[in-house]
Amino acid sequence: MSLLQVTDLQKYFPTYSQKLLRKEGAPVKAVDGLSLKLDPGETLGLVGESGCGKSTAGRTILRLLDPTGGKIEFEGKDITHAKGDELRRLRRDVQMVFQDPYGSLNPRHPVGAIIAAPFEIQGVTPAGGVKKAVQDLMARVGLNPEHYNRYPHEFSGGQRQRIGVARAIALKPKLVVCDEPVSALDVSIQAQVINLLEDIQEEENLAYVFIAHDLSVVRHISDRVMVMYLGRTMEVTDRDTLYERPMHPYTQALLSAVPVPEPRRDRERILLTGDLPSPQNPPSGCVFRTRCPKAEERCVVEIPLPIEIEPGHTVACHFPAARVVL
């Protein structure tokens, strides 16, 4: 049984007119028909440009946002509309690490209280007491347990991100959604946090949904990778297949655009023109067609459905073709 199964998830945000909250206009389809499966201990990378819905997807899966449609199952239990106590219980098993190590910690609370919050909210008393549990957690993520009484501003960005990780793993969850956990950090610090996440995963058999725009980091940490564009899934497969022979033109363009640290290496660049269309008014047919080098008449009228082209490799394109771009 999968740990997490998401079927045809939708999250629409209504838009309002200027006049006194009158509902009107087309909704913003931030996530539109997302399906995924995640096994215990597995890492799924979720990549795409800003505005593609990857963060909204992560938050909706955790039920920080209410889904508009579709189904979310966690350990076989339907949690799509869980609320109240049921939702609070769910939070013991699913947690989140946020992008901004400055904004996601309350500046008025000492670190000890921040990391202890999950215990308090869930009414859990760990063996040996809360203080000991918190100090153990701090040691585990590489912080000095004596800094228990310090405030977030006394820590560096990398250390704050460690605090966020400690808080997320306090209740021994089974799934952690990491939303750009390292993008605010310097390169040398990034690696420290990535290694920490990998160590914890190994010890606890944690599953991660790892949301990031940095395709190199995603390649390093993921088992499988899903590429999103304008709220829809373009391609999902295991990470080696995705990077070595991607089949969707968007994946190919995305990979070819990333600069690699190797001068004078001639790589063919698939240049995308223009910007992301508005998710409020997405193009008809295939949402990527306005920037796709392969687009044809069929792409305008017919939405390409995700098709499993080979075992474990799903592509939503009318003209999929493997191509080496790296």
Binding site: V187, S188, V258, P259, V260, P263
Partner: protein, 339 residues
């Protein structure tokens, strides 16, 4: 002496209540026309402070500057405010990281672009507008004749950055400083912007200083690279040499801590231990010594003596106490196999 920009022993110190912040501490580099210098470093390494010093944007602040910054035949640290103002925006220009805060939200994009023209050359408003529209078209903004009258918030992130580039290039500056111009952008847009900068450089022959923390961007666009750490250059080399024979433990650390897009190199990344130094309390000796894994190979005490920036190979300088031959050996044995 055909170097267009020559920086000699530049120091930028900020006195604060807690002590002197030595943001840049003895930096020297050269830049020819038509070439691109990449400045790489982590936050707080002094790269942005350097660029602001070249642009003369520390004037009026409490910063204490010393050294020389020669642009052609003028020392930018000595020229009057008046002269500097006539250079800024005309002979040298800057692209900032965050175009939304670098542009004025109350004025149209066109007005802001035209300002540089109207200030520096005697053109009519009408002629300026025509030039602005041309420039917006050059940087790839669709419908420039409509866009010119829009406000910055009506532009997408990528377009705003294009408009910033257009603003910087409006007077064909000979020196262009780009401070993390693509950091806030998606990779597909970043690729467009880097291509654009390359094309414009080929056309106008400008000298470019590209400040970034992304070694991929540097590999793609730079001719020479300066790696900064704790306000000092630790390595200064041509781009090929820097990537094929990196010569400083900090550069090694940057390379091994970065996952690769194009291949799986290792199961675990090798981070640089510890945190970047505080610029008020720079560690004695080599600023990198508390984080360096190779101190045992050094010829003298790393935590006592400040190493000089010395030539290891022709046109390849680095600042390290480990003998050059040992460093080459260390790189070949323990770093190169992990890249």
């Amino acid at each position: 002496m055909n170097n267009f920009l020559r920086v000699r022993d530049l120091k930028v110190h900020f006195p604060t209540d807690d002590g002197v912040v030595k943001a840049v501490d003895g930096l020297s580099f050269n830049l020819e026309k038509g070439k691109t210098l990449g400045i790489v470093g982590e936050s707080g390494s002094g790269k942005s402070v350097t660029s602001l010093a070249v642009m003369g944007l520390h004037r009026g602040s409490r910063a204490q500057l010393s050294g020389e910054i020669w642009l052609d035949d003028q020392d930018l640290l000595k020229v009057s405010d008046e002269e500097l103002r006539s250079l800024r925006g005309r002979k040298m220009a800057m692209i900032f990281q965050d175009p939304l805060s670098a542009m004025h939200p109350y004025y149209t994009v066109g007005t802001q672009l035209a300002e540089g023209l109207l200030v520096h050359s005697k053109v009519s408003k009408k002629a300026a507008r025509t030039t602005v529209i041309e420039m917006l078209a050059r940087v790839g903004i669709p419908n420039p004749d409509k866009r010119v009258d829009q406000y910055p918030h009506e532009f997408s992130g990528g377009m705003r950055q294009r408009a910033m580039i257009a603003m910087a290039l409006i007077n064909n500056p000979e020196l262009l400083i780009a401070d993390e111009p693509t950091t806030a952008l998606d990779v597909t847009v970043q690729a467009q912007i880097l291509d654009l900068m390359r094309d414009l450089q080929a056309e106008f022959g400008s000298a470019i200083i590209m400040i970034t923390h992304d070694l991929g961007v540097v590999a793609e666009i730079a001719d020479d690279v300066l790696v900064m750490y704790g306000g000092k250059a630790v390595e200064y080399a041509e781009v090929d040499d820097l990537f094929h024979q990196p010569d400083h433990p900090y550069t090694w650390g940057l390379l091994t801590s970065m996952p690769r897009l194009d291949r799986i190199t290792q199961e675990r990344l090798i981070p640089v231990a510890g945190n970047p130094p505080s610029l008020i309390n720079i560690p004695p000796g080599c600023a990198f010594n508390p984080r360096c894994a190779f101190q045992e190979f050094a010829a003298c005490a790393c935590n006592e003596v400040v190493p000089e920036l010395a030539e290891s190979y022709p046109n390849h300088d680095s600042r390290c106490h480990i003998p050059v031959a040992t460093r080459a050996q260390l790189f070949a044995d323990s770093i190169a196999p992990r890249l």
